[in-house]
């Protein structure tokens, strides 16, 4: 067993250097990727993905958006080699998606954490660590780190069958990170999480990007995608409808938004007049509302800071 455990299992960055070049910074590339589901007799049931051309670059958070049945999960499964394409090709790190060796550098969090319920959190991570041929010392180290990172230290010896949905998602994320992957595929990462869990999950995703990981996530929760993704692709009925940077796609070019704090009524009137003089149309002016998520998180944070404080009815109630 090597003394320096970092030598035993290559980190994502190290592997990236050793990997064959797949374009400059292209981690995932799909070419005309098509998937047709057929029945037992080979008759076409549904065309789940139609000629998808896509590129995901190193270090970005890429979101796959779309309603149910739009082909998001099919794309993820094709990228992982869980499904075989009907036509076209999916390349990850320049290798075919069915090539098992690519999995050395990939972490995958499925839509629901499909884990062995009879194992404890520690056993789960240890088992998946073994699949990466990690030496025992490194497995123990990574297991301890990840369990702490996802906040399951107190539950590490409990069987997963006793875990709540949020805890299961967290151990699911931990197993996806056991090999310190270069590319992480997250299928509906915030599904089933409460707002706190959602916030933590999004923060973890952002932290992973900070560490140089590439992340592909699919979700139908638009706010999550908007919060964390750098680029998105929108799928509808298996077809790519939109692709680009989130900020660019969301920018409403013919509307100007001004936000100011403690603006007097007089100043507001002057602004209205300026807009009128300029010949523009005033769409709205007033006090903005926060998001429900923000409100919920503020209340929880307040409650944690001042335990026992009761709710005060406001005038609006």
């Amino acid at each position: 067993m090597p003394d320096d455990v970092s030598q035993a299992v290559p980190t994502g960055a190290a592997v990236a250097q050793a990997a064959p070049a797949a374009g400059h910074d292209t981690i995932i590339e799909t070419r005309n990727l098509t998937k047709v589901y057929r029945d037992f007799w080979g008759r076409q049931k549904v065309r789940a993905l139609k000629a998808l051309d896509l590129e995901v670059r190193r270090g970005e958070i890429f979101g796959l958006l779309g309603p149910n049945g739009s082909g998001k999960t099919t794309t993820i499964k094709l990228l992982l080699g869980l499904l075989f394409p009907t036509s076209g090709q999916a390349l990850i790190f320049g290798r075919d998606a069915t090539d098992v060796s690519k999995n050395e550098r990939i972490g995958y969090l499925p839509e629901e954490s499909y884990l062995y319920k009879f194992l404890s959190a520690e056993q789960t991570l240890d088992f998946y660590g073994r699949l990466f041929k990690m030496p025992r010392r490194l497995r123990r180290q990574r297991t301890a780190e990840l369990i702490e990172q996802v906040g399951l230290t107190r539950a590490k010896r409990r069987q997963l069958r006793e875990f709540s949905k949020g805890m299961t998602r967290r151990i699911g994320l931990a197993q996806a990170l056991i090999n310190d992957p270069e590319l992480i595929l997250l299928d509906e990462p915030t599904t089933g999480l409460d707002p706190l869990g959602t916030r933590d999950m999004k923060q973890m995703i952002l932290d992973l990007r900070e560490q140089g990981k590439t992340i592909v996530m699919c979700s139908h929760r638009l706010d999550d995608v908007q919060d964390v993704c750098d680029r998105i692709a929108i799928l509808y009925e298996g077809e790519l409808k939109e692709l680009g940077r989130v900020d660019a796609l969301l920018k409403v070019r013919d509307v100007t938004d001004i936000q100011a704090r403690k603006l007097s009524d007089k100043a507001q009137d002057e602004i209205r007049q300026v807009i009128q003089r300029d010949g523009a149309e005033l769409v709205s002016m007033g006090n903005p509302t926060t998001t429900l998520e923000r409100l919920f998180l503020d209340i929880i944070e307040e409650s944690q800071a001042h335990p026992g404080r009761r709710v005060r009815a406001s005038q609006d109630t």
């Binding site: 098992v100 629901e112 041929k133």
Partner: protein, 673 residues
């Protein structure tokens, strides 16, 4: 013990030398064993699978891409097989073990314990062969429970993981399909191994504790029978002291005092006849496959008898078998004796009161192997053409012949009873009662034994040396003749053997359980293979069917070759499956041909195809009964190491093929839906 299919010598088994390209072979007329058959099946399967895969790929993707994909799969298949990681296989094996434990496999062990606890109450306590009964019950019960368990475990595990998608998380790690299949097989084999070992240990204790016993002998129940009686303390089944004393030319030494005879107390639902010699040594006579030693003790004027444990009960005899042939009443050498009308042609018969003989030819009979004596054990079939006196048995004679010189000496005259194993000990120094010379001469029809007188000097010899006079370079012939006119002795090759030595019983018992273990390993491999491409319930039914097919494989082959009826020589008597069904419905007997016509042609055409398919299936299915050593162990015979080696190689070969098949199925299927 009945051995219908004699184990082949290892070297012959390893390479039967059959020409697999001959038409005889493809029509099942040439038997092929061992690795050659395995190679043939494997190569055929590999080619069929490859061609089918290629065809499907071309149909789905067109000729160019289809061919390219097929060869890519072939290449990665070879890589997947050669580059398996032991560490990952170990991890997946560990997972399979955990999965099995989660499913409470230990319940099967609990069921087994309950069966042993209460099953003994329902066993036939008056059975004449309790060892056979107990051992066959424990081995059969173990085999049944273990096979049912592994059918369930091995066939449902992978489909369950595919259904709840836990396998998705595994296959998205750098795990090869070959590692998943091998990990599963090894995991379930490990669980089965522990269970078989536990059941074997408990069974051994159960058998030993149930059968070991002693008896009480009370002086009041013994009666004097005279002063000159000698007791054969060493004589368990006719062998021993008395014979040796007699062969030395003297009578048994007279002992002072009075010999006693009587009946022992009842234990384990039986009693024994008791003999106590004047010198105080005694024995409880042979009953229910065992006997006991008894010794007389005297303290404070009171005489008591101490009876030892059962002897001859749990043994592992190493038999030396000879090649059997016959002579008819004129002395003509024959492959077989007379058929007395028995459909089961295992034994053939010799007629009493004639020179017709059953002759066993032994080899390598040397003093270093049998230093003092040769125990001959035999179990004969008896066919009575008239009832006679049933209790007395049928008189017979055993003779030894030197194959080179033809010198033949009668060594025993005995009374044989059916289903009873008689033991006759031949000491090195033989005192002849009848000496002759039997010469084998060539005739126009074959070979014939001709009896000749021996010279006076030989005839008057006081004794013969077993090895110097009656063997030639280790070769010895044992002749059996029936002395009762118009009665018949039936003999098969395994009916008479030389008892060379004994091995440790517990080791033989373990070999019996090794056979169960091999069956378990095969069923695990079958189950895992089916589970790679079938859903849970279907995989379970398929595994169960293959297991049952493995248990009735000889019948499948007999149906395929049309040799079910009679002794197997009248092929196609009664037709194939469909023709038989038609005959049953129409109540037609098997010897009358069906009416000629299109209907009959169609029936025969369907039968022909069905039989071909059945023959092909039978070639693919392993014969599970082949690995059963229950008969050897229960009849007290050592399971030959040669047989164990053949079984092991066969199972390893089958498991390898099943593993490759399972791996290919898993590799070429979509894990997700």
């Amino acid at each position: 013990m009945i051995i219908e299919k004699e184990p082949l010598p290892f070297s012959e088994w390893l390479w039967s030398g059959a020409n697999i390209f001959s038409s005889d072979f493809w029509h099942g007329k040439v038997a092929v064993w061992g690795p050659q058959r395995w190679l043939l099946v494997f190569a055929t399967l590999a080619i069929v699978v490859f061609l089918l895969g290629w065809l499907v790929s071309i149909l789905r993707h067109g000729p160019v891409r289809g061919t390219s994909l097929t060869f890519r799969v072939l290449q990665s298949t070879i890589v997947d097989l050669l580059c398996m990681s032991p560490r990952r296989v170990w991890a997946l094996m560990w997972l399979a073990i955990r999965d099995a434990l989660r499913r409470r496999v230990i319940v099967v062990f609990a069921v087994f314990i309950v069966i042993l606890m209460f099953g003994a109450l329902f066993l036939d306590q008056d059975n004449e062969h309790p060892v056979r009964l107990y051992i066959s019950v424990v081995i059969t019960t173990t085999s049944f429970l273990i096979l049912m368990l592994v059918v369930f475990l091995s066939s449902t595990s992978l489909p369950a993981e595919l259904k709840d998608k836990t396998l998705h998380t595994v296959v998205t790690k750098p795990v090869r399909p070959s590692e998943i299949v091998l990990g599963r097989i090894l995991g379930f084999v490990a669980v089965g191994t522990v269970l078989v070992a536990m059941m074997g240990a408990i069974s051994y204790l159960f058998v030993v504790r149930q059968l070991n016993h002693t008896h009480t002998v009370e002086q009041a129940k013994l009666e004097p029978i005279g002063t000159n009686a000698a007791v054969e303390v060493e004589d368990t089944k006719g062998e021993g002291e008395k014979d040796r004393e007699a062969q030395k030319g003297g009578n048994a030494p007279e002992a002072a005092g009075v010999a006693l005879i009587g009946k022992s107390g009842e234990t384990n639902h039986h009693t024994h006849r008791v003999f106590i010699a004047p010198d105080g040594r005694g024995r409880l006579d042979w009953n229910k496959d065992h006997w006991h030693r008894a010794t007389q003790h005297e303290s404070e004027g009171k005489i008591t008898y101490k009876v030892g444990p059962a002897e001859g009960l749990l043994q592992a005899r190493v038999p030396v078998y000879g090649k059997l042939h016959f002579t008819d009443r004129e002395g003509n050498k024959k492959e077989r004796g007379i058929n007395v009308g028995d459909e089961w042609s295992y034994r053939s018969y010799i007629r009493g009161g004639t020179p017709a003989s059953a002759i066993w030819s032994f080899e390598n009979i040397r003093p270093d192997r049998f230093p003092k004596r040769i125990p001959i054990e035999m179990t004969l079939g008896i066919f009575r053409s008239y009832k006679g006196i049933i209790d007395q048995g049928i008189p017979g004679s055993l003779l030894l012949r030197n194959p080179k010189t033809g010198l033949m000496v009668e060594v025993k005259v005995f009374n044989a009873k059916e289903f009873t194993t008689d033991v006759h000990t031949i000491t090195r120094t033989i005192l002849p009662t009848n000496v002759s010379r039997m010469t084998l001469v060539q005739t126009a029809d074959g070979e014939r034994y001709v009896s000749e007188d021996v010279d006076v000097e030989t005839k008057n010899r006081a004794s013969f040396d077993l090895f110097d006079d009656l063997t030639d370079d280790g070769r010895l012939e044992v002749w059996l003749q029936c002395l009762a006119p118009d009665q018949y002795f039936g003999a098969a090759q395994a009916d008479l053997y030389l008892h060379a030595s004994d091995r440790v019983f517990w080791l033989n018992f373990a070999k019996g359980y090794f056979g169960v273990w091999l069956q378990m390993v095969l069923v695990v491999a079958i189950g895992v293979t089916f589970s790679t491409f079938l859903s849970g319930p279907i995989a379970m039914v398929a595994t169960l069917s293959a297991t049952l097919g493995g248990l009735i494989r000889p019948l499948m082959i007999a149906i395929a070759l049309g040799t079910v009826y009679g002794d197997g020589k009248q092929a196609d008597l009664g037709g194939g499956p469909l023709e038989s069904a038609v005959r049953m419905v129409n109540q037609q007997n098997v010897v009358v041909d069906l009416d000629k016509g299109i209907q009959t042609d169609l029936i025969k055409w369907v039968d022909d195809r069905t039989q071909n398919v059945l023959w092909g299936m039978a070639q693919l299915i392993p014969d599970l009964n082949e690995f059963s050593a229950a008969d050897y162990v229960s009849y007290g015979f050592d399971v030959p190491d040669n047989l164990i080696a053949q079984w092991t190689i066969t199972v390893v070969g089958f498991v390898f093929v099943l593993f490759v098949l399972g791996f290919l199925f898993l590799k070429t299927r979509e894990v997700a839906k």
